[in-house]
Symmetry: C2
Subunit: 446 residues, 2 copies
Amino acid sequence: MAKPSTGPLTGFPEWLPHQRMVEQDLTDRIRRRYELHGYVPVETRSVEPLDILTKKGATDKEIYVLRRLHAEDDADSGLGLHFDLTVPFARYVAQHRADLTFPFKRYQIQRVWRGERPQEGRYREFYQCDADVIGMNNLPVWWDVEMTMLMREVLDDLPIPAVAIQVNNRKILEGFYRALGIADYPRTLRIMDKIDKIGTKGVLAELSADGTLTDAQAAGCLDLANISGSGLDVLSRIEALGYTHPLLQEGLSELELILRETASLPAGQVVANLRIARGLDYYTGTVYEGVMSGFEKLGSVCSGGRYDNLASVGKDKLPGIGVSIGLSRILGLLFKQGALTSSRKSPACVLVALATEETRSEARAVAATLRARGIATEVFDRPLKWGDQIKYADAKGIPYVWFPAGGERAEHEVRDLRSRAQAGADPTTWAPDESVLRPVIVRAES
Amino acid sequence: MAKPSTGPLTGFPEWLPHQRMVEQDLTDRIRRRYELHGYVPVETRSVEPLDILTKKGATDKEIYVLRRLHAEDDADSGLGLHFDLTVPFARYVAQHRADLTFPFKRYQIQRVWRGERPQEGRYREFYQCDADVIGMNNLPVWWDVEMTMLMREVLDDLPIPAVAIQVNNRKILEGFYRALGIADYPRTLRIMDKIDKIGTKGVLAELSADGTLTDAQAAGCLDLANISGSGLDVLSRIEALGYTHPLLQEGLSELELILRETASLPAGQVVANLRIARGLDYYTGTVYEGVMSGFEKLGSVCSGGRYDNLASVGKDKLPGIGVSIGLSRILGLLFKQGALTSSRKSPACVLVALATEETRSEARAVAATLRARGIATEVFDRPLKWGDQIKYADAKGIPYVWFPAGGERAEHEVRDLRSRAQAGADPTTWAPDESVLRPVIVRAES
């Protein structure tokens, strides 16, 4: 029999336990922050019918299709793994609308899958941590501000390098392109979205290919893309380019609201960047992308935007806006640098040592007493020499080893492995240093 | 364009927000309990190479195979979604052994997929909540006791009907069958595993089909399967059947240890049941199945066992034992009966009402102050009539509505929607009733 393949799979990251402890801590912080704002938890099934997944032209997302191994005719199930959490959420809201109260605010922390070519910071399976709000027929533009502030709060609460939120508005892009006389907006948008990958020259060449855009039109697109900044002067710089269109004006006023309402934040936290386009087709207004300080070249670590036409039910429209934190990408980048870790490799605070097989009940009783008091405790599983048991605790970073009373030991004793001090203790009253009761996340200074 | 399919998918359950809040609460409890025992969190990728998944003869598990939608040659990726968390965990330990400390204890709460025919309590995508320990070459039999007690503690901590843990031992079954002179142990085990589905008659017919087992052998298998009970007398009843085999004796002594050490628990919490076999091939010793009071006919809600030969590295064996809580099945059964719900449909404790567009900043400032003090708060998104805003809070079960100072209102006021009492309040000091600060899980009395 061939040896099964036990190695890693490119694009499917897997963390070591102390890294998973970091991931859990960050997930808990994100969840807590979303809940403080009243977002309810939702999870959707991992699969959607293919027509749902391909409806919004997400053709470049490389969907994974499922087939049952024992299906008789090699037939597809017609189901694919979701490539984001927005499309499934829009479907969820349409399906369950009778049971929901609008505007409906939910957060969703789940894995998504994309069969893209793996590269640094780009995975085939990864976590997204989304918050979205969907209205019934109407979702005031104020949500664009709320969502910006929410993303800001979540990011500021994470022990990671600073993330700058870059904002743009699809209405500005579409209005501006139309004012330039460009007929094919989606094509132009798709090309402009690649500007950071293929550069100015590449974009100009693609825009003008087959004479679709005149040189002046292509140059106009680039003029717009080169505008960025955090002040309201960004707006006048766009207007100074001299084009007008109702959609452009609408987009400018939406962007203005966000810039004005976030003006009191420290510089650089929310920045207008007219080259942000986002790859997904469903966005219709505000779009976001966040880049992490020191990792700017590796793409966005959070993103989102407004989608007014993604879902509808009969005559009712379901406009929405949301943000997504790319948790796996953030962690992958930081783990690679050793920039984020856990203070120890185990949740356990105490290891109860085992003297002999005959005293196992006493050791287990001590552990049960400590656990009942909220102190995570394990019992060593065989009566090895003390040194070997202490070595195990040391290897996992467990701060205390407990030696139960019995034999020549008149009372319980506990050893602090940090100071090597050992003293008598009573399991019903002893308490560890508060600072080591639980593992904590440690951020390495760079 | 055809209308996309927005309906439910059989076998892929999806909960409403207040149900997801229950699921989260139960997940948190399970996680906390595992961590109290020193189990570290691990997640594995959702996919494994097919040779890993099919290695242990899990042919009846209906694996889902992945294919990229745009793969040029319709080729499979060679990857399948995992059907349990034990096989991926054994692979994980073998792969990462250099970074782990043994015995290695981990818990894992993740979705798994099985392309089986969906039926009540049986899904194609569902959560399992596993805890396992894997040793390097050696894992003392005491872990079988620890694991039983851990599963007991976890179950007792959940707001669900009583679950009886039924224990058996594969060594007893194999030793007994061999003592009966039966050559094909795996086949006999597979047939006996179906006893609750096809009944005594069906089992007898299958066992004797084509003359593979004599009537006496088949009757012997049934005699064993009919033994159950929580006392140590179970062991003497097995011995009274008059068969001996070294493996049988070994299994009996392992089962004896579990029964002896759990004897102090209330009656019925841990019960020997000699008809428990488990469908998965990898178990080698102790096996568990738990059935929930009132839902006995709908199969096990937790399971597990010992697997001494699932993984190895070179000459090193990696014996393990684990338990798994079938969270989705438990919730599916209880939700259907309305037996478990959340006290409200939102994490929010306060809704800040919006008087006019002009006072939005004040409303947002109140919300920010409350959130900074740990009180989950949302702001209504448009200045509707008070009644409409209160209706929204009522629909979501948000207990308080806050009316900011301003206009004719000299000071902030907060209304308790339960008592309809309204009084002045200061956002820097006001506190909600502790009992409604957060949603709580409510178990309906049956």
